[in-house]
Amino acid sequence: MTVEADRILEGLLGALDKAPDGVRRDDLAEFLQTDAAALDRAWAALKRDRFEVREEQGLWTLVRAPDRLLPHWVRARLRTDRIGATIYYREEMPSTQDAAFELIVEGRPHGTLVVAEHQTSGRGRSGRGWISTHGRGLLFSIVLELEPPDTFASVLTVATATAVARGIRHVTDLPATIKFPNDILVRGKKVAGILIEAKDYGVPPPRAVVGVGVNVNETLEDLPEALRESATSLCLERRDHEPISRVALLRRILTELERWLDQIALGRFEVLDEAWSRLSGFEDREVVFVCGGEQVRGRVLEAGIREGLLLRQTGGTEQRYRLEHIIDLRVQ
């Protein structure tokens, strides 16, 4: 599809989405600054993409949108500047993570989003698989610049985990929490995971790929039997088991992520630190973790990207630990 056709399609969807009672076809042509033929082509494309649309006496109405992660549909109501400005979408791909790395080599910029309905060889950490059922989960990867390069892991992990947990809370009302560092839980069961990978291309600026996998509309049967005790989907956790719009969730997570990264770029860490600390259940709680091979225990007094964890330990001594040095953390 050409850039112009994409623009019209995105604009058309945006306009229809905002007007549940319908929009006059003539007004649309004027609003989108295009001709009738181009508009008709966009209309036909919508139908092909399984959007349920109605045309009555020159009034166009969007009845129902498919819950597909189509770029023009995602972007139609996306309020971000850079995150998701370019979207690569396929029904199916081996791994959004690998595809994103290929796009880095091609020179794609910060914020490029890769999304698929289904991954045939999706991966989690250390080469573990990430199981997905077609059209049920939300799987995406984003190309991000590493800034600053020496502590990017804490910056990107904290920002992404907070964006995913808050996105889930906003769209579903479910009590999503962060399990340090990179899992998202609902009532103690895993609903989402984050995989951050960085490779050296020798071409500045250094970039990472942030991968997110959320179990959204999976049924119990969709989850591997071995994982049913420890994992769940957002839909399963809802009282009515009502399906959730993956498009709405994706838009919300992207918006959140951009907001947090902007704050970090401005040196404003406080609001993010506080949100992240609360979602991680750190506030005034005792934690146990490993640092440099030693077991550490203490009550959390402060938690943040730059400050790390400030603990009060036995005997009342206070000690700080960098987030990057913390392994196997458990909140007591």
Binding site: R125, T151, T157, A198, V296, R320, R322
Partner: protein, 150 residues
């Protein structure tokens, strides 16, 4: 060497950010050393954050300096994290004492918040010293290995 020549050399050093300049005229020995990132020659800024494992720069920092005088190259950690000598607890170590490495050889992993970073040697030669223990917390710029360049 007269004062004029010396001044010329100092200017040369300033222009090119040289940390060291060694010249031996008769035997024709010349050795230049640049302040390369990250912080070669001990020019590492102190870590901003004090941590429990803040000791790690100590092991062999003195020998490190003298080792660099002997022409050894230091492989430093490009990030904050935990040092691992192998991809998994039961896997073979990437390198050991005496291993031959090239620029592209992965020498270890530095993990931070489950982000795995493969560290490359970026120099050809032989590992002559392992500066950190498996599982140790490392800081930005901390020495991980000494390499005798090939």
């Amino acid at each position: 060497m007269d004062l004029k020549e010396l001044k010329k050399m100092i200017a040369l050093m300033n222009e090119n950010d040289l940390l060291e300049l060694e010249i031996e005229e008769g035997g024709k020995r010349l050795r230049l050393k640049k302040a390369g990132p990250p912080g070669a020659g001990g020019a590492v800024p102190p870590p901003v954050l004090p941590t429990a494992a803040a000791a790690p720069v100590a092991p062999g920092s003195e020998t490190e300096a003298s080792a660099e005088d002997q022409g050894f190259v230091t492989i430093r950690s490009p990030m904050v994290g935990t040092y691992y000598q192998a991809a998994a607890p039961d896997a073979d170590t990437y390198v050991e004492y005496g291993s031959k490495v090239s620029a592209e050889t992965v020498v270890c992993i530095v993990e931070a918040m489950k982000v795995m970073n493969e560290i490359k040697a970026e120099v050809s030669g032989e590992i002559v010293k392992l500066c950190v223990k498996n599982g140790e917390a490392v800081e930005y710029g901390q020495a991980l290995f000494l390499v005798k360049p090939a």
